[in-house]
């Protein structure tokens, strides 16, 4: 008996050691696992192995419509997940369960559907538990293989393991929540990164488009407009419409008077020197007035005020620019004189009107240009100028009248126009610009002996066949008074030949424009396209021999 007692105690001791080892194994497992499903399964099997049990189940409910989250079962044939589904049993998690305590199932009077379901699976007891107040679970065991009754020590062990189980599940659920949050965060980061990548790509594309556009603007305009205009174009979405559009524009056209004939007497190098010097000086004058240099046509310059950028004072700025350009001719001619090159004179015509502006040409060759009668009219106005003169049309006058100083207003009968062309000879602009042309102080001196003149009228570039005779009776370096029975029309361009007593030319051809018709006798005042050299003028003024007509 003592031996039996000793054997019994030894057995009990070994059982307790086994249980302690189990508790140690449970600690190790719960510490290592993060998956609630794996925790439930492992602890269930540990309990089944500890107590020698054939059937068992462990499960965890959450909140929500179908709250059963995890379930492990072993040796139970019935699908407990379906059996425990509250939608099947019509009830949720039972209240008033003894949390952490053993609920025996092999008896009558089971009050809750979970216990009923477990009992139907030949499970003998279960221990309900709660995890973080949001999850409810249980671990259920069948009878022991040996058929023994569960002892109080068994209950105590069950309780201890269930406590460890709930802690492990709490940690595992929190870990899952954090993982889900991280996944959600990672997904958000991924989505945001993708959004940013797409945005970046779009920005790059837009940047590329903008660069192309800017390059186009700079190429199209950069050398012909001021930096301010370029900036305005680049900054404004509406400021530049590269398609065609009608726009009210003030157009300035300048031209070196008589340069064509002068160029015939110069070498190509000299011609280029003079033209490039003149153009270079004029560009530096034009840009500060925000004029758009549309074109160089030989020694002519076409400047737009109002395209591609419109301003309220386009007409005023155009006139001011013209005056500044005339003033700058002194610089051009000073440099010419230094190099032994002839002085040149410039005429400027200005007109305001509607033109179509836009890209002219084709894809292969395109430029920003203007089309319209206003451009032609500007050219016509300019054609009436003499060197050093600025003529504006009535349309420009209307836009800027309040600040303009005008020497005279006159009309010309222009070919192809129904109404006479009204022109204004501008001498200055007041207001913020306050610029004036130098006073013309050259007086006409009478010739000792009049010089015979033969002249033809130029119609455009074409010389009319008719030749007329006249006498040059007064002259200055730039102007002459010619008496003739057939006074040419105002603003007519003449090609004249001054003749000696024998009828031979005294000089080469002299070109000029009729500025005035004499009021008191038949004749005209002619402005020479090129100033007469001093010696020539002196000879004309003081020559003793009479012309053929005086004979």
């Amino acid at each position: 008996m003592i031996e039996d007692l000793a054997d019994g105690s030894q057995l009990e001791l070994e059982r307790r050691i086994f249980h302690l080892k189990t508790l140690n194994d449970v600690s190790q497992v719960t510490g290592a696992l993060r998956d609630p499903q794996a925790i439930l399964k492992n602890l269930l099997m540990m309990m089944m192995g500890t107590f020698g049990v054939r059937r068992g189940a462990a499960f965890l409910f959450g909140t929500g419509e179908f709250p059963l989250k995890f379930i492990a079962q072993r040796g139970v044939v019935t699908d407990l997940a379906t059996l425990l589904d509250p939608r099947q049993n019509g009830a949720g998690w039972p209240t008033n369960l003894p949390i952490g305590e053993v609920v025996t199932l092999n008896r009558d009077g089971l009050a809750d559907p979970v216990s009923h379901a477990l009992a139907s699976c030949q499970l003998q007891l279960w221990v309900p538990f709660v995890v973080n107040d949001l999850h409810y679970g249980g671990i259920a065991l069948s009878e022991k293989l040996l058929g023994e009754v569960y002892s109080p020590e068994d209950y105590e062990l069950l309780g201890t393991i269930v406590n460890q189980l709930t802690v492990a599940l709490d940690n595992a659920l929190a870990y899952r929540e954090i993982e889900e949050l991280n996944r959600g965060l990672e997904e958000k980061v991924r989505q945001r990164t993708e959004e940013l990548r797409v945005q970046h790509t779009r920005l790059q594309e837009a940047h590329g488009q903008l660069e192309l556009r800017n390059r186009f603007i700079e190429n199209a305009f950069g050398r012909y407009v001021s930096d301010e205009v370029v900036s305005s174009l680049l900054e404004s979405r509406e400021g530049l419409q590269l398609g065609g559009e009608k726009r009210r524009t003030t157009i300035l056209m300048s031209d070196l008077r008589g340069f064509t004939s002068m160029a015939e007497k110069l070498s190509p190098e000299q011609v280029l020197t003079i033209v490039n010097r003149y153009l270079g000086v004029m560009v530096d004058v034009i840009l500060p007035y925000q004029g758009t240099i549309n074109e160089f046509i030989g020694d002519a310059i076409l400047v737009l005020f109002g395209a591609p950028v419109t301003r309220d004072d386009d007409a005023q700025r155009a006139v001011a620019c013209a005056i500044a350009m005339q003033q700058a001719m002194a610089t051009v001619n000073a440099q010419n004189r230094e190099e032994g090159l002839p002085a040149v004179e410039m005429g400027i015509g200005i007109h305001t009107g509607e033109v179509v502006v836009g890209n002219l040409g084709s894809q292969r060759r395109m430029k920003y240009g203007i089309v319209g009668s206003a451009a032609n009219m500007t050219s016509r106005v300019e054609s009436y100028t003499v060197g050093g003169q600025i003529l504006i049309s009535e349309a420009t006058w209307t836009e800027a009248a309040e600040v303009l100083h005008v020497a005279r207003r006159f009309q010309v009968e222009a070919k192809g126009l129904e109404q006479p062309l009204v022109l204004f000879d501008v001498r200055g602009v007041g207001g913020e610009h306050n610029l004036f042309l130098p006073e013309q102080s050259e007086a006409l001196a009478p010739l000792v002996n009049a010089v015979h003149v033969r002249y033809s009228v130029l119609e455009g570039k074409h010389l009319s066949d008719a030749e007329f005779a006249g006498r040059l009776v007064k002259a200055s370096a730039t102007t002459g008074e010619v008496l003739t029975d057939h006074p040419p029309l105002l603003m007519s361009n003449l090609r004249m030949q001054l003749l000696d007593a024998n009828g031979s030319p005294l000089l080469g051809h002299v070109y000029g424009k009729v500025l005035e018709q004499l009021a008191d006798r038949p004749g005209v005042v002619v402005r020479f396209s090129s100033a007469l050299p001093e010696d020539v003028l002196s000879t004309l003024l003081h020559r003793e021999s009479a012309s053929l007509l005086d004979a």
Binding site: L11, E14, R15, F18, K21, T22, D25, V29, K41, N42, M45, M46, M47, M48, G49, T50, F51, G52, V53, R54, R74, G75, K144, L145, L146, G147
Partner: protein, 114 residues
Amino acid sequence: MNQSLEVAVRKQGEVALIDIKGDVTAVTGEHIERAYQQVCGEGVNKVLLCFDSGSYINSGGIAIIIGIAADGKETARIIRITGLSPHFQKIFSMVGLTKYAEIFPSEQAALAQF
């Protein structure tokens, strides 16, 4: 416990011997279950679980063996066990495994009784 297990199957006549070497837990024990299911599928009705003398079996591993032994009883297969250390022989007895699977001191002894 290093959580490693080697499982191998061999036949001797009608008996399938499942050699088990290492630590038997709820996780590693699944290899033993698979080997058992494999031999059952081959129509074997006599199975000898041969544990290595150094094998360690925790409570989860015991549940695996309980499952195999109980299945054997339910399917009229003879399940026998050999190679256990005296300590584990006591544990197996304590949990009632010996009701379903007899433990033999040696392989030869177990085979002789099939």
